[in-house]
């Protein structure tokens, strides 16, 4: 059985290593502690990270805890990224935008908005792990549904889908 401080330290190590949000339930499993024991420890760790003036933070996202840098220091970090940076094409960005705001959404629904076939773009977005399959829509033909991934949040610097800006006007077309 781990001491309270050890649990906190181990949780910190786990959050550091993992570049994606990690659900509380998974932490419970890895650390082999009770959920009720872990919750206050995590609260303490979060406070510790988020009170002080430091370069890192721990965010409690929909998908779990995520250790990441504070936005204030983005400027320094952008400069040291590896040189081979790829931008998404306009077509890919549009497709991703539709998926982000309308998820889960079928290929046909995206094509209806964009007015073009998007087979290749869907494949590319799946390969880049920006979107993933999200089951089948219960309509004729049972088309596949797509949704964005945690990787999508990471690439766009969001901590959760709630961070997506609310559109000025929800269009009622």
């Amino acid at each position: 059985m781990l001491m309270r401080d050890e649990v906190k330290a181990a949780a910190e190590a786990i959050l550091f290593t993992r570049a994606e949000p990690i659900p509380l339930e998974e932490l419970v499993e890895i650390l082999d502690v009770g959920l009720l024991d872990l919750k206050p420890i995590m609260r303490e760790l979060l406070l510790q990270y988020n009170q002080e003036k430091r370069g890192l933070q721990i965010v409690d996202t929909d998908n779990g805890y995520l250790m990441c840098t504070r936005p204030e220091y983005a400027g320094f970090l952008a400069g040291m990224r590896p040189p081979l940076r790829k931008r998404l094409s306009g077509a890919a960005l549009e497709t991703l935008a539709v998926i982000a705001y309308q998820q889960p959404v079928t290929r046909a629904e995206i094509e209806a908005v964009r007015g073009v076939k998007i087979d290749r773009i869907i494949t590319m977005l799946l390969e880049k792990n920006l979107i993933e399959e999200a089951g089948h829509k219960p309509v004729a033909g049972k088309p596949l549904l797509y949704q964005t991934t945690p990787e999508f949040l990471k690439v766009f610097g969001l901590t959760s889908l709630k961070d997506l800006p609310v559109l000025e006007e929800e269009l009622n077309v």
């Binding site: 935008a97 792990n129 559109l167």
Partner: protein, 245 residues
């Protein structure tokens, strides 16, 4: 030998030799070359068909061992002293050195395996953010939102223009409409293009075209083109019984 381990299990001839030495609890500094050579050869002859590339490495060691064995059998030259300071001339020295060196690295390999698995205390680096560091995706939320907004705008416009008609297109009604328009300017007639402009969607376009073909077939109208690049003009046919109706 009590049991035989397949040759494939060994990472190379030195691995096999070390195994034989350990199995027989031999002193690595005083290897009975004749015995070890025989055992080594037994392993090789037990081996069925497998990778010739790998077998080659084992055969090289076999010939080395045979050579060593024959050198050990030769009587010592009288010049050789029995002074223990001179053990450096033992023909086995080279083999011992290689075995010990190899053994060290085999231990390191075990250490590395344990480190990789995390069986030993080790540090962990942070996982790289992107799947591959070579190709990092950069994007910003502004461009995503902008893309979505402009799409919605486009959609709004295009939906206004391309409202899909609910009912079927009535070709008969279109024939009547066409006749009406042609009668209104019977001398001048009308351009084929004007006809197309009247359509507000593809189905209507098709309807007008079918109506025109039908009217042509019925000899109610005629289509005239002065040359192949000129506009097609459509006129009411003279003698059409409805002309002056």
């Amino acid at each position: 030998m009590s049991y035989v381990v397949a040759l494939e299990a060994f990472h190379g001839p030195l691995d096999l030799l070390l195994y034989l030495i350990e199995e027989n609890q031999l002193d690595i500094y005083d290897i009975p070359i004749a015995r070890i050579t025989d055992q080594y050869m037994a392993y090789l002859s037990d081996t069925g068909d497998w990778d010739l590339d790998r077998l080659g490495d084992f055969l090289i060691m076999a010939s080395y061992l045979m050579q060593l064995k024959s050198r050990m059998l030769l009587p010592k030259s009288p010049l050789e002293s029995r002074d223990p300071e001179d053990i450096g001339i033992d023909p086995r020295d080279e083999l011992v050195r290689r075995l010990l060196s190899y053994k060290r690295y085999r231990q390191v390999a075990n250490y590395l395996a344990a480190m990789e698995k995390g069986d030993t205390a080790r540090v962990f680096y942070r996982q790289p953010e992107a799947a591959s560091r070579q190709e990092e995706l950069v994007a910003d939320i502004k461009s995503l939102v902008a893309a979505y907004k402009s799409l919605r705008q486009q959609l709004k416009h295009s939906q206004q223009q391309l409202d899909i008609p609910s009912g079927d297109v009535d070709v008969n009604a279109m024939m009547s409409q066409l006749m009406l328009r042609l009668r209104q300017n019977k001398r001048a007639g009308m351009d084929f293009r004007e006809l197309l402009d009247a359509a507000s969607n593809r189905r209507e376009l098709l309807g007008y075209f079918l109506a025109l073909l039908e009217l042509l077939r019925q000899h109610q109208v005629k289509a005239v083109q002065s040359d192949h690049r000129a506009e097609i003009r459509i006129y009411l046919r003279a003698g059409n019984k409805n002309v002056n109706a």
